[in-house]
């Protein structure tokens, strides 16, 4: 007997009585979504920057390798998309367009239509996500409602830079992934 058959048979054999699946109600959300979003992101150690601030940062920091899949900042791209993601091991700055953001926890949804390579938001040293004001919603329920049943092979909610507290609970930013997250709200 295959394990699939035996596992399913073991469960069926229990004849469990079906319990109801609840509906998820709407919950009240913050009225000022941009302000709530900004505070939540600060809590996750990310920062909101304006378009001008980002442009200034790029001008001043001289990141050697920049890749922007966001059309707004396309002009800063100075490298080709590699065939293998390892080719981006030295990527300094990635700029990506986000689809929907949840104000309550600063999480932004990106999927393959935004990511030219799945590895980009993780492998880059610094990450910028661009989100339009009208795409900021209150909470995760609203975010999933917006995402709906879209079919993407990969999607991710990113809410901050890579971080760890595994050494005596001291918070350290930049464990394996991006060492900073900046969000530009347009």
């Amino acid at each position: 007997m295959s394990s699939k058959v035996s596992i399913l048979a073991a469960i069926k054999g229990l004849n469990l009585e079906e319990k109801p699946l609840p509906d998820i109600p709407d919950f009240a959300v913050a009225t000022d979504l941009v302000e709530t979003y900004t505070n939540s992101l600060n809590g996750n150690k990310g920062t909101v920057v304006s378009k001008e601030e980002l442009e200034q940062l790029i001008a001043e920091s001289e990141f050697p390798k920049i890749y922007s899949s966001s059309l707004t900042f396309e002009k800063f791209t100075n490298c080709q998309l590699p065939l293998h993601p390892a080719g981006f091991a030295d990527l300094d700055l990635a700029i990506i367009e986000g689809q929907v953001a949840s104000a309550e926890n600063a999480a932004i949804w990106l999927d393959e239509s935004n990511l030219d390579l799945r590895a980009i938001p993780f492998i880059t040293a610094h990450l910028v996500i661009v989100i339009r004001k009208e795409n900021i919603v209150g909470n995760m329920h609203e975010a999933y409602e917006r995402i709906g049943m879209t079919k993407s092979g990969f999607g991710v909610f990113i809410a901050g830079p890579s971080k760890t507290a595994d050494i005596e609970q001291s918070l350290v930013i930049g464990a394996h992934g991006a060492m900073s997250l900046r969000v530009v709200i347009l």
């Binding site: 309550e104 609970q169 464990a175 394996h176």
Partner: protein, 454 residues
């Protein structure tokens, strides 16, 4: 395996035990602070509990749904009845790929299945990539907590092992410096590995996708750089609908560490072009637990660790004292289902104060199940488990009283109870503590009298 004895070992280093206790309490306080910002917190817990109850009541249906939808997405689905089969499936994939180096992100299931020793025997180098996991892997230790695997260690321990293994400066205990050294070391591993193994936090039946939550981004670094991704999940990790994730992602990180959400919440639905994605569905005793009416809902657990952080016994005895893959209150109700004899002291490693059930985001009645297991063990002690050694019997039959008494006190004040009561010699896990404020004579009399009664 004897919890009180192991706890005694933990408490030998008084300063460290106190640090452990206080640090976990801080995590509990962070959780409290963050949930108070969510007016619907209790409603979310109730929803999560009902969604999981529903899923468990139709688990066969949802597993088939998941398989059907995941397969349609191009995921290769495997079924494993037990740990051995799980390991063999992975071993076979690695053999086919001729792969000798794998990176793995935190997965309690692979720990439960003892995957690492199995693969190492086949000459495969397994690198755990979560920072805490990598640290304990260097030290050849199991995790002592399901969310904070290296919580039992101090900076100086980590500095010493990094000096030895990563050639960091001797005596440099700066967490930023040490984390950076680990980043460089693990980057190299990520860039080399052809296969990445991960756990699964949630699998969604209706879409055939699964979700992995990390703060470090290590799971994503591993899988997106590798050609093959193998994800391993217990069959209880299912939820019916994508929108249910909204409920669980709001609860998980807040319960675990007091963050509003983990920084990376990755949804895997199909492999990247040219790559492979495997999903292994593992039973390993879960259908048995599903058949135990009183203990069934322990399978609702989303592994947030909140019950550990709040537990007065866990905080003061350390994860290793439980001797099981999942320690703490939830481990103490899951483990006896796996091996009643081996884990017979665990249900007694509790004050039954109920704090675990209060914080559990999926409303598992943990402390009631601990009580139920005590009944089962006491019954078994009378019949089939006669062969248990006297030492074990001693552990069972003298400790409950101690736990019960301290439990009543702790109910009154979980946090601010004076050390003199928490760490009294009646509680084996309180050994190594002095009794500065209690009148020694009367206490001893009282102890003697009560001990005889037990």
């Amino acid at each position: 395996m004897n919890h009180p004895e192991n706890a005694t070992v933990f408490l030998k280093d008084v300063a460290r035990a106190k640090w452990h206790d206080e640090t976990l309490w801080i995590v509990r306080e962070k959780r409290d602070a963050t949930i108070h910002q969510i007016p619907e917190w209790e409603e979310l817990r109730e929803l999560a509990s009902q969604i999981k109850d529903h899923t468990l009541s139709k688990l066969d249906f949802y597993l088939e749904e998941l398989e059907k939808n995941a397969t349609a997405n191009g995921i290769k689905v495997h079924w494993a009845e037990n740990a051995a089969e799980h390991n063999q499936i992975i071993g076979k994939i690695l053999e086919e790929k001729n792969c000798k180096d794998v990176v793995k992100s935190k997965s309690i299931l692979t720990e439960e299945c003892h995957l690492n020793p199995f693969l190492e025997e086949q000459g495969i180098d397994v690198v755990d990539t979560d920072l805490g996991e990598r640290i304990i892997q260097f030290l050849k230790q199991p995790p002592s907590h399901i969310v904070m695997p290296a919580i039992h260690l101090k900076k100086s321990d980590i500095s010493a092992i990094f000096h030895e293994r990563l050639h960091t400066e001797k005596g440099n205990i700066d967490p930023v410096y040490l984390t950076h050294a680990a980043r460089l070391h693990l980057r190299e591993k990520f860039l080399q590995a052809k296969v990445a193994i991960t756990g699964v936090n949630f699998a969604v039946a209706e879409t055939g996708e699964f979700v992995i939550c990390t703060n470090e981004g290590n799971a994503d670094m591993g899988v997106h750089l590798a050609d093959t991704h193998i994800a391993c999940m217990g069959i209880e990790k299912l939820i019916p609908r994508r929108k249910d994730l909204g409920v669980f992602l709001r609860l998980l990180a807040r319960s675990a560490t007091g963050q509003s959400i983990t920084n990376y919440n990755s949804h895997f639905r199909s492999p990247s072009p040219g790559k492979e994605l495997h999903l292994i569905l593992v039973n390993n005793g879960r259908t048995k637990q599903l058949g135990r009416e009183k203990f069934r809902n322990s399978l609702k657990c989303i592994r947030c660790g909140a019950c550990m952080n709040t537990c007065p016994i866990y905080r003061r005895s350390g994860g290793f004292s439980y001797g099981s893959t999942v320690p703490g209150p939830i481990g103490s109700i899951l483990s006896p289902g796996i091996d009643l004899k081996k884990y017979s002291t665990l249900p007694f490693a509790s004050t039954l104060c109920g704090s675990c059930s209060d914080v559990c985001p999926v409303k598992i009645n943990i402390h009631e199940q601990l009580y139920e297991w005590r009944q089962e063990i006491t019954k078994a002690q009378g019949s089939s488990l006669k062969g248990l050694s006297m030492k074990l019997a001693d552990g069972i039959f003298t400790s409950p009283l101690a736990y019960k008494i301290s439990g009543q006190l702790m109910r009154a004040s979980l946090k601010t109870l004076p050390d003199s009561i928490i760490y009294n010699p009646l509680n084996v896990w309180g050994k190594g503590r002095n009794l500065p404020e209690l009148p020694t004579e009367s206490f001893k009399d009282w102890y003697k009298k009560n001990r005889n009664r037990a």
